[in-house]
């Protein structure tokens, strides 16, 4: 349908799973270390964040590993610039990453056995470190040219930056969604927002830098390319607003123990929705080599998904407020 193949969809889910598993391990590691370095309430809250991210990484690992079982061929290039790996490069990458996937499955099995009794910060640090190293290696080798040249750097940069961009955006949303109505906990989450934003900006910068490594044949002026560039532009404008004045306002409110006012909460939701859907969209469209949808159709679908997500949120929020009033 529209030049999309089911295996390309599976490959997209593999990348999504890897990006979230990597990012939740990275930020889970940060929170597990922070919980060890603090005492009292701070320690408890940071440990709670690390545990939330442990479950998020489990779900993401399940998605990535399931997709790996089905298919391992990844034609990963982002923001519409396509450099398709050859079948030899994909086979080489598969041969390199297969043992890592096996180690990952075994590691997850052992970790679940250990953590079924109790999750300690020290144990989580070991788990997150090992998982981050594994995922980082796997995601950095979507294709293997046989040597470290410009072409390999292109594949590697386009692979691992997903942890810093898509994965970190998803992680931030998971954490924020869980605590947004609990200012007593959210005030511990808010201070890391600027750091998270920086990591996302740097990730996008790495993606832009790797554009300098592309070959002329990689720049295909298709509807997909123009659409991706439009989404990147929107993503930057929205990101500046979200990570700038909006985050500062939220931090200020959380620090004095206040909840987000409904208007600000809705604006933050719209901005967050645009961010998460934009990142997912540019990753998604690049996994479909022969996408035949025209520019305006792609843009229409993109806007419809954003509008639907915001409407659903407003509806659920309205029901939640009504429920609280009845209680």
């Amino acid at each position: 349908m529209f030049g999309m193949e089911i295996m390309e969809l599976v490959a997209f889910f593999r990348q999504l799973g890897l990006a979230l598993a990597g990012a939740s391990s990275l930020w889970g590691l940060v929170y597990a270390i922070k919980s060890l370095k603090n005492i009292g309430e701070k320690r408890e809250v940071y440990e709670r964040f690390a545990k939330i991210l442990f479950f998020a990484s489990m779900v993401a690992s399940l998605v990535a590993i399931s997709a790996w079982f089905i298919i391992a061929d990844v034609a990963g290039a982002h923001e519409g610039i396509t450099l398709i790996p050859t079948s030899t490069e994909l086979t080489r990458a598969r041969a390199l990453t297969n043992p890592l996937f096996v180690i990952w499955v075994l590691g997850l099995f052992i970790a679940n056995l250990i953590f079924s009794k109790k999750k300690t910060s020290r144990g989580l640090i070991v788990f997150f470190s090992a998982q981050l190293a594994l995922v980082l290696t796997i995601i950095s080798i979507p294709a293997w040219t046989g040597m470290f040249g410009a072409r390999q750097l292109f594949f590697t940069a386009h692979g691992f930056h997903s942890i810093m961009t898509l994965g970190t955006v998803l992680t931030l949303d998971i954490l924020f969604y869980g605590v947004r109505h609990k200012p007593s906990i959210a005030r511990f989450l808010a201070p890391i927002f600027p750091t998270l934003s920086k990591v996302i900006w740097v990730g996008l910068g790495i993606d832009f830098l790797s554009v300098g490594l592309i070959f002329p044949e990689a720049l295909v002026l298709s509807d997909k390319f123009f659409f991706s560039q439009t989404v990147v532009g929107i993503l930057i404008l929205n990101g500046v607003f979200l990570s700038g004045p909006l985050t500062r306002k939220m931090i200020a409110l959380f620090e004095i123990g206040k909840n987000l006012p409904p208007k600000l909460s809705t604006i933050a939701t719209i901005s967050g929705t645009i961010s998460i859907i934009s990142w997912t969209t540019i990753t998604f469209v690049d996994f479909f080599k022969n996408l035949t949808l025209p520019y305006f159709a792609l843009f229409g679908i993109y806007l419809t998904i954003i509008a639907t997500s915001v409407c659903l949120y407003v509806l659920f929020e309205h029901k939640r407020v009504q429920k609280i009033r009845h209680v």
Partner: protein
């Protein structure tokens, strides 16, 4: 009233640059704005990292 910092305004300019470059590439095949916006973005991020 929303207050933007200088670095944020600069970042917004790169975002706008990429948006503007879409019709420029489509109608005239002109990549100058596109490349300039991306290079400016990377430079901006580098400065942000060095400053902190």
């Amino acid at each position: 009233m929303l207050k933007f910092r200088f670095a944020e305004i600069a970042q917004m300019c790169t975002g706008l640059g990429i948006l503007i470059s879409v019709p420029l590439i489509f109608f005239y095949g002109n990549f100058n704005v596109w490349f300039f916006a991306k290079i400016a973005y990377v430079l901006g991020i580098t400065i942000m990292l060095i400053k902190k």
